[in-house]
């Protein structure tokens, strides 16, 4: 299982390195999204108030694109069928693609956080770095897991461009909320204190664990015709 996972993650990341999609296009895209939000809600104090939420919204939209891309690779020339026919362990596929996705997401979030700090003049307090990091790790893993799970479900279905968001967005709503609150706590937005953050972090962890186990088990049946 893990051998397969490693192979697939390596394959996906190599393809990414070849096509440089994330670095050249998703990152700028995420950046623009942040700017657009801030612009749509032009008044400063509002922006600062909701900066953490915006970071995670932007991450979400980028996630959609990343997942789409991740499975476009597979369905373009019937690789999914080939995998099933070759009896590749679905759990391995799931974990592998999740891993690759998580790596790319992490990259992205790092950038978004920087943008937030600069654009929205959000402040990172030393005391809260741990919480912030933990939040990002938990949220990233969770998003990657659920993204891969539903991506696999939507892949192959015609019109997946649009099925995916429909499936994904409602499910990740809790992540969005949890991550936002935790980040607010870490950044001390609107006088939130670090302590407030931990329960939310717990929520994220639970979410990640849930989809980790669930996905590993469910992915096989899911990609069966």
């Amino acid at each position: 299982m893990f051998r397969v996972a490693r192979l697939i993650a390596a394959k996906d990341l190599r393809i990414e390195l070849r096509s440089r999609i994330v670095t050249n296009q998703v990152l700028p895209f995420a950046g623009i999204v942040m700017v657009m939000f801030a612009f749509a809600l032009n008044t400063d104090l509002i922006v600062e108030r909701v900066a953490p939420g915006l970071v995670w919204l932007a991450t979400l939209f980028s996630l959609l694109i990343l997942v789409q891309r991740a499975f476009a690779i597979e369905t373009a020339d019937g690789a999914t069928d080939a995998m099933r026919a070759a009896g590749v362990d679905p759990a391995g596929i799931f974990l592998g693609k999740t891993l690759a996705l998580a790596v790319q997401l992490a990259l992205l979030e790092a950038l978004l956080l920087v943008i937030a700090v600069v654009l929205y003049s959000a402040k990172v307090r030393p005391g809260s770095v741990v919480l912030l990091l933990a939040t990002f790790v938990a949220a990233t893993v969770g998003l990657a897991l659920v993204g891969t799970l539903y991506g696999g479900l939507a892949a192959g279905v015609r019109g997946r461009e649009t099925l995916l968001p429909l499936l994904l967005l409602p499910v990740v709503a809790p992540v969005l909320i949890g991550a936002t609150r935790a980040t607010e706590a870490a950044l001390g937005t609107a006088g939130a204190v670090v302590a407030d953050g931990w329960p939310w972090l717990g929520l994220l962890a639970v979410f990640a664990a849930l989809f980790g186990v669930g996905g590993t088990l469910a992915f096989g049946p899911l990609i069966e015709e």
Binding site: N24, Q25, P28, G31, I32, V35, A38, F39, N42, T43, D44, V47, V118, L119, Y120, S121
Partner: protein, 260 residues
Amino acid sequence: MAVTDTQIAVAGPGEGSARNRSATSTAFTRALGVATIVSMALLALFGLFLSPADVVQNESVRILYIHVGTVWIAYVAFGLTAISSAAFLWKRTTSLTWDRIAGASAEVGVLFMALTLFAGAIWGRLSWGKFWVWDARVTTTAFLFVTYIGYLAVRGLGGSHQQRGRRSAVVALLAVLEIPLVHFSVKLWRGLHQDSSVADTTKVQLHGLMLFSLFLSLIAFTLLYAWLVIHRQRVLAMQDALEDKGLDHALEQRRQESDR
């Protein structure tokens, strides 16, 4: 537009062959380079020492010389990109040289715009207390910046040179329309950002030396821009030429396939 003419002249095949193909510099560009350095030094002198501090902005006003200089030259650069793109698309004048000029100018323009944003952000920290505010001009500038990054991405898409030229030319002609938007954004949404205080003299009178330093910065950055574009444009020409050379070799190999 004198800049353009010289560029086309040097980039033209006649002159090109006369020039040592392995180098991008000519007597003209060397002179230009020297002039650039000198003017930069002068700018530093006037900008940092001779010109007085501002009443409101005090010392931080010196950022103006970078901020405004770069942004106006960036405008010029994008304008030139648009013009040469049009020239490329127009059947009568079409030539890859125009495409290269467009590309080079856009690259330098993006560079300058980055400087503008940087200087602006620093200045903002000093005078608004924040690196970034959601003022109209500031934001539209960011959009303009991203648009040209997109333009460069389109140039990088690959395909034949002609295809690269056509695609990017179209994008350039559309992108340039954002400049007026940026320029008038202050009037459209009366925001925090400085209104055109230099252009029309009815506004607060800039101190004479300040005005002089500002124009000095314009000259300095113009020279720098010209120097960069000419060289970049020649490098691009050499790259294309190199690819053509490579093609001859590739053709040989391809024909070999028949013998095995």
